[in-house]
Amino acid sequence: MKIAIASGKGGTGKTTVAVNFVLSIENVQLFDCDVEEPNCHLFLGFNLEKVEDINILTPVVDKTKCDFCGKCSEFCQFNAIAVLPEDVLVFPALCHGCGGCAMVCPKDAIVYENRSIGIIEKSKGGNIEFYRGVLNIGEAMASPVIKALKKHVDESKTAIFDAPPGTACPVISSVQGADYCILVTESTPFGFHDLLLALDVLRKLEIPFGIIINRCDIGDDRVEKYCDTEGIPVLMKIPHDRKIARLYSEGIPFVNRMPEWKVKFVQLLDKIQAQI
């Protein structure tokens, strides 16, 4: 089973839930899909080894063959190639690697070379199989790294996807294909508003979901009231506990110091299995 953890708003506790969840259950894989700002490893203390480079194909123009006809630039939807009267400029960071420019070139002047935009790493040893993607600094496209990361899913295990914040393409790439999505929120105006946006995405993608309310005693009761009206399961509530916040700030998963919570995370998995 594949379970994604998302939120809409950032900083609501996705990584906290993901890490404590995998430390409480058996036969599990964890994927840190927040490739722009991956944090899970900070709580797990594993040594990491590189598995692969994530490359995208970027065009290279042979200017001895090119007659500057401009067909490539006309075809490119991403403004990644510009043709001047006697020169061609390629903007690699804008290129999505679709391959269209080479197809339309009448002079066969365009070839592709691999350009690394990020890497996949995995844990060495440890009892949890952990994978993460890291997008290179200055690179724009997170989705190809996330998609490559998820190819390491072992269907015989429970796979947990820690998604990035927001509701745009990196989030969609992270939650797509999941059997279930946990939305971690806080009951504040920002938390609730962004939760509604994330719910819309999951409904459109037809992924079943439930809610975890983090820091449940700050803010007000708007999230619970909404879940009650809509019949959305509230899977867990985590209090605003100074000890949990402190452990988080130091990079210590709270189930390691508060073992009573392990039981609750085992029950969380049971609740999810019962729902789907």
């Binding site: 944090n39 197809m103 995405v201 990079g251």
Partner: protein
């Protein structure tokens, strides 16, 4: 005209709280909410929308089933795995490149426009605001950010404002790059947790990569004072100024519930420290 973007790397460190507070302190600013896929600034500023502009993102492929012979040439050519085994378009995977339409021998595929959100020009109690709403499960958030920034510049010209305060998204990718490209300064809001520190290092690398001057503000510094010191030392080593340290306080949450900026809500310690940050940042921008 100057542009300042508030970013963080890590989500939930307090970007919008601080950006909204700065907006209420600045007297001549245009506001741009560039966190277009989870925009929250409007919840505090309650803008009155003056103009709504349709946003069309990238096109999407569409197969005419009556012409398609299921040859699979499009599927083989698609670099984004956006064509299924039964030769249908996965609209969430499609990036709108047009390769499938180009290779189709039956001319069964066309690229169609799709509405991917709305951009808004609005009026708030602190001045003009440009913001947007990305459509549900739509791509092209970076393009929409560029539209919002362009709208903000036009508003600044129209209303003779000399500063644009941009509330940026979390992360380091496409919409962050679009939010900071070419601005005069970024204010990075961080928190003293191991995640906050890790993400700060990466977002400062991004600012460096694009040659944008950065200053740092540590929010909730008293949650872990040892980590706050680590951040201060780190910034000092990089030659980056820490322009303020804000205490953990429930005033921002209470203000948010009242639809107020924290400055409007209270004149306590938190607000006073934000005022100091603003004085400092304004001086650097001029």
């Amino acid at each position: 005209m100057k542009e300042l973007t508030v970013i963080s790397g890590k989500g939930g460190t307090g970007k919008t709280t601080i950006a909204a507070a700065l907006v209420s302190l600045a007297e001549n600013a245009v506001i741009a909410d560039c966190d277009v896929d989870a925009a929250d600034m409007h919840l505090i500023l309650q803008p009155e929308i003056i103009e709504t502009i349709d946003f069309s993102g990238l096109k999407v492929a569409s197969i005419d089933e009556t012409l398609c012979i299921k040859c699979g040439i499009c599927k083989d050519a698609c670099r984004f795995d956006a064509i299924t085994n039964d030769i249908r378009i996965d609209i969430y995977g499609c990036e709108g490149c047009g390769v499938c339409a180009y290779v189709c021998p039956e001319r069964a595929i066309s690229m169609i426009e799709r509405k991917a959100g709305d951009a808004y020009n609005s009026e708030t109690r602190f001045g003009p605001m440009a913001h947007a709403r990305l459509g549900i499960a739509e791509e092209a958030s970076g393009l929409l950010v560029a539209v919002v920034r362009d709208n903000a510049r036009k508003l600044a010209e129209k209303y003779d404002r000399d500063l644009i305060i941009i509330d940026g998204p979390p992360g380091t990718g496409c919409s962050v790059i679009a939010s900071i490209a070419g601005v005069d300064m970024v204010l990075v809001v961080t928190e003293p947790s191991v995640s906050g520190i890790h993400d700060l290092e990466r977002i400062l690398d991004v600012a460096d990569h694009f040659n944008i001057p950065a200053v740092v503000c540590i929010n909730k510094y008293d949650i872990n004072e040892k980590n706050s010191l680590i951040i201060e030392e780190y910034c000092k080593d990089r030659g980056i100024e820490v322009v303020g340290k804000l205490p953990y306080d429930d005033a921002p949450t209470k203000a948010m519930i009242q639809e107020m900026t924290v400055i409007e809500y209270s004149d306590g310690e938190f607000s006073n420290k934000v005022k100091n940050i603003w004085e400092n940042v304004r001086e650097k921008l001029t």
